[in-house]
């Protein structure tokens, strides 16, 4: 039982980070019906941004809570800018030329970012310890300060995202653009700006995810985005791509699956199980757990 609860804690913690990344995939898919394969590289760049920002502000040498929070916010902002820039420079000119071209552009962008990072920063760069680690033993279950940080930050960001999407005019515009770009334009919605905002928002969440990731796994690498990015993509498909609650549910489920497999079976199986889950979902429920095919009334 203790092992089970322990793996639930670990699984939710891992799943929360997947969820932050998966939201970017699902929101972009919702608006453009494209898989932004460069999204995992936005996550990776977030790690490098955090490192550079921590060094530049001196937080790397003298970490304070306020300093770390500042670095986190600046990392999210940098990722938002990067995401919007990728959309503006690479995807927007390709938008009229078909989905396959867009997909290939995304893969190209992913390779470009990976190899640029490799050229500039190299591999396996150590990340400074920014926060002291505490662990508590609650009835045999180990709870770390990092777990709490991940839960707290993720929940706060989800509430914020929910507010933006459901309660603001920009959120309504995002949902309208996702339904029909033409109909949205007829409302006077500046569609290009809304799409750029969607990329920025998803990328900011990926930036938060990478900040949480490097605090727990203190090294940054040009290829660090590949696996978490793929897993987050699986999570988004699992939950129903295009659906925001679906991405969160899929990510938590995937995180739990992985840690359960690691705990009860063997950690060598965890990635295999994650991708097996993808195949099963695509075979038997291609719309995902919370995705649905909405019928149109004429």
């Amino acid at each position: 039982m203790t092992l089970f609860i322990q793996q639930v804690v670990n699984g939710l913690s891992l799943g929360a980070i997947y969820a932050l990344i998966a939201l970017g995939y699902t929101m972009v898919y919702g608006t453009l019906q494209m898989i932004n394969f460069a999204h995992s590289e936005v996550f990776m760049m977030g790690g490098f941004f955090a490192l550079l920002l921590a060094r530049a502000t001196g937080v790397a040498e003298n970490p304070t809570l306020a300093g770390v929070a500042l670095v986190a916010v600046a990392t999210m902002a940098s990722c938002a800018l990067l995401g919007a820039a990728i959309e503006r420079l690479a995807y927007r000119p390709m938008r009229k030329s078909g989905r396959l071209n867009l997909l290939i552009t995304a893969i190209g962008m992913s390779l470009l970012l990976q190899n640029s990072a490799l050229l500039v920063w190299g591999t396996n760069v150590p990340f400074p310890d920014l926060l002291p680690r505490h662990t508590w033993n609650v009835a045999g279950v180990t709870l770390s300060s990092n777990n709490l940080l991940v839960f707290g930050v993720t929940i706060a960001l989800m509430i914020g995202l929910h507010h933006v999407v459901e309660r603001t005019q920009m959120g309504r515009a995002m949902r309208a653009v996702a339904v029909s770009r033409d109909a949205a334009a007829l409302m006077g919605i500046p569609v290009d700006r809304v799409i750029a905002f969607t990329f920025a928002l998803g990328s900011a969440l990926a930036g938060a995810a990478s900040m949480l990731w490097v605090i727990d796994n203190p090294r940054v690498d040009p290829f660090m985005g590949t696996m978490p990015g793929l897993k987050a993509f699986v999570a988004a498909v699992l939950g129903g791509i295009g659906s925001i609650p679906g991405a969160v549910a899929g990510a938590l489920l995937l995180g739990l699956c992985e840690t359960m497999v690691s705990g009860y079976l063997s950690s060598t199986w965890r990635d295999a199980v994650a991708f097996m889950l993808l195949i099963v979902i695509l075979l038997y429920r291609p719309a995902g757990l919370l995705g649905k095919n909405v019928a149109e009334k004429v």
Binding site: Q169, R172, A173, V179, L186, M187, G188, E296, K297
Partner: protein, 237 residues
Amino acid sequence: MSAALQVRDLNVYYGQIHALRGVSIDVAEGQITTLLGANGAGKTTLLRTISGLLSPRSGHIRIAGEEIAGMEPHLIVRRGISQSPEGRQVFPNLTVLENLQLGAYTRSDTAGIKADLKHVLELWPRLGERLAQQAGTLSGGEQQMLAMARAMMARPKVLLLDEPSLGLAPVIVAGIFETIRAINAAGTTVLLVEQNAHLALKIAHVGYVLETGTIQKCAPAADLLADPSIREAYLGG
């Protein structure tokens, strides 16, 4: 009567297809102008071009004298043209209220938006009963009302209506046309595209007949109603 909306020598292509060939129309301030024509004549193409969803290859579109041809759609809405598109195109997963709020996207006068919301809910009380409901759950007639109410929320100078009667029961269509007349009487200029020529000519001041991308006729609506060739082609003899 001055033209609220003026279209001159408009040429629009879909790839190789020449969809509008030198189309010129005047939509007079304060009037209902209707555009008749068979399927594929180019009526929807003209409205999409006026709203900026399509770019003309040549020609002019002016609103209150200002050139808007080729301008981005959201800027055209800001200049006072809003459209209730063909097939209604309400946002099905948004509530009725959210659809109406999006209609006022370009505006920031909170008090004016509130007043206009009250006004459209007086025009279409059915929508008021369904504000919190997802628009996709409305009936076809209610969706048409929502599409028109949403367009009115932009407080347009010129309202473009594309086939408001499409697929609706006659009794509902009658109500919709009554409302169009009321909107116009309250001061909004209307450009109405309609398959149901009889109904359209009855409420319109001026009618244009569009055939395969060219304007064939332009006359006061009453004259078109009496015109034998129009009766034969569009009014069922």
